[in-house]
Amino acid sequence: MQGNTACAEGALAAGCRFFGGYPITPSTEVAEHMAAKLPRVGGVFIQMEDEIAGIASVIGASWTGARAMTATSGPGFSLMMENIGFAVMTETPCVLVNIQRGGPSTGQPTMSAQADMLQCRFGSHGDYSIIALSPASVQEMFELTVDAFNLADRFRVPVFLMADEIIGHMRERIEIPDSVPREERKILPKGTPPFRADEGMIPGFPQFGKGYGVHVTGLTHDERGYPCATSPSLHEDLVKRLVAKVESARHEIADYRVTNPEAEVVFITYGSPARTVEQVLHDHPDERIGHLRFRVVWPFPEKALDKFPDAKVFLVPEQNLGQIAREIERHTCIPVVPLPRFGGALHTPAELEKAVEAWR
């Protein structure tokens, strides 16, 4: 099965019943599969007039209680940025799939990249926090899409599946389980102010059509949901909570794989470069090369770096100029070496073997 198809299958298994989007290479197969399958399970597929409308329709659908998603790539992702901020501010659960291609601008529509990793974290204006997952196989396109819906409902944030073209278009063996775990949105008890957060900092969800009479606005709002855009303390409290509800849970959300924790030379990867590193480790079983692979990239789980107490260098192959390498650097004193490879090609095992040699 193809990665993009597996993503759509994961969404359907997770109970996604609304897809609003706009065709764009190399993500289109996600939309095509949803267009074929959603009507058969009582869901709605709608091709909107642009990506701005795509994410807007997803947010609207989410307020009716539906699990809702969109899928896009670079240029469409850029168009979605304002409404991503709206989803953050209004605490709307939704899933956005970005099958990354080469940019800036139209760039390389059919070639792989991982250059939107900072955009998904910081691309909309204002301070905020989100969750981003990165699959490294067709199987993970399925599994992490399921996780994305559960995390979105649990934390009431947009969750991004930040895949790359190689994984999106790759076909390989996949096993689809009979059922998948499902975490429901916490329901708002009647009579509670709709944006009053409890200790977990996540308010219950006042679904439209259930008699809550909730006002939802992208303006800074009080716990009743009423706009109050001129109070410094209210704004500060709200934004701090929106960030903290994700960041304070980052070690719970964290999902990574550790290989050879005693290693001195350690690769850190996410997405398709992980596959090259796995090959290198497989081909050199005696060399004790370490590998830390993130399945969740944001919120950044910096404690994962401590799993390699003897590491003397972190090598970070990415299909960009070093976006996550920069984040790793913030959290460690040992050298962090970005290994950029972009233009669409994937790092070869030989290239990475050479990088290891340099640190022997």
């Binding site: 609003g20 709608i46 807007a56 947010i59 609207g60 259930k210 006002h215 606005t217």
Partner: protein
Amino acid sequence: MTYSDWLRVDRLPHIYCAGCGNGTVINCTLNAVDRMGWKKEETVFVSGIGCSSRAPGYIVTDSLHTTHGRALAFATGIKMANPELHVVVFTGDGDLAAIGGNHFIHSCRRNIDLTVVCMNNQIYGMTGGQGSPTTPRGALSTTTPYGSQEPAFDLCELASAAGANFVSRWTSYHVKELTRSIHQGLGVPGFSFIEALVQCPTNYGRRNKFRQVMDQVEYFKTHGILVQKAHRLRDEGLPIPADAILLGDMVRRDRPAMGVKR
């Protein structure tokens, strides 16, 4: 029930300027909604950004105050995901026809079952009076200090060309007619578009020779002509005044619609 039962009383007073026409349109809309017998929990108001778009915040139902120009795209998601809900959109001329123009024509084309009430004040009121796509040629605004050089959009023509099932135009002077047309629009399956010209004394009237609030309302009264009368004049070969405001129901048809309650 009356319109006042639909107001979110703890949010009052509202932010509108003294003499603003938006309150009239909200009042007419709520009266029309009330007359439909809809339940509050089945009704959702959606808006974008601008003076008009603050309206849902003063209404007790579920409401979504979204990003600039995008209200129709959000409303499409709500209505398609749950056709049981009655979805009404408040918008303005800048929100709908400038930044949101693409969503406007595509919502009409899809003929999605929404009712859209556009408060057309011919200016960007909230940001201090900049020119909009409906600012008349020659009119003054902060971004057209020598008079607007651009032709204005006719929003009703746009809606009918793009495929809406119901299209109507009134003004804040024509309270009864406006209420009746909104009521009709609410009942029509498919996309209903009701344009309501409103006075903006603070940012339009002040700069364009409507010194008093009532001057602009009086202008609506004296320059409005029914669309049927305009057609009659045209058929008889008589001139239609250049500054006439065409009023009334322009389109009422039954094209296939999306998102209609089953």
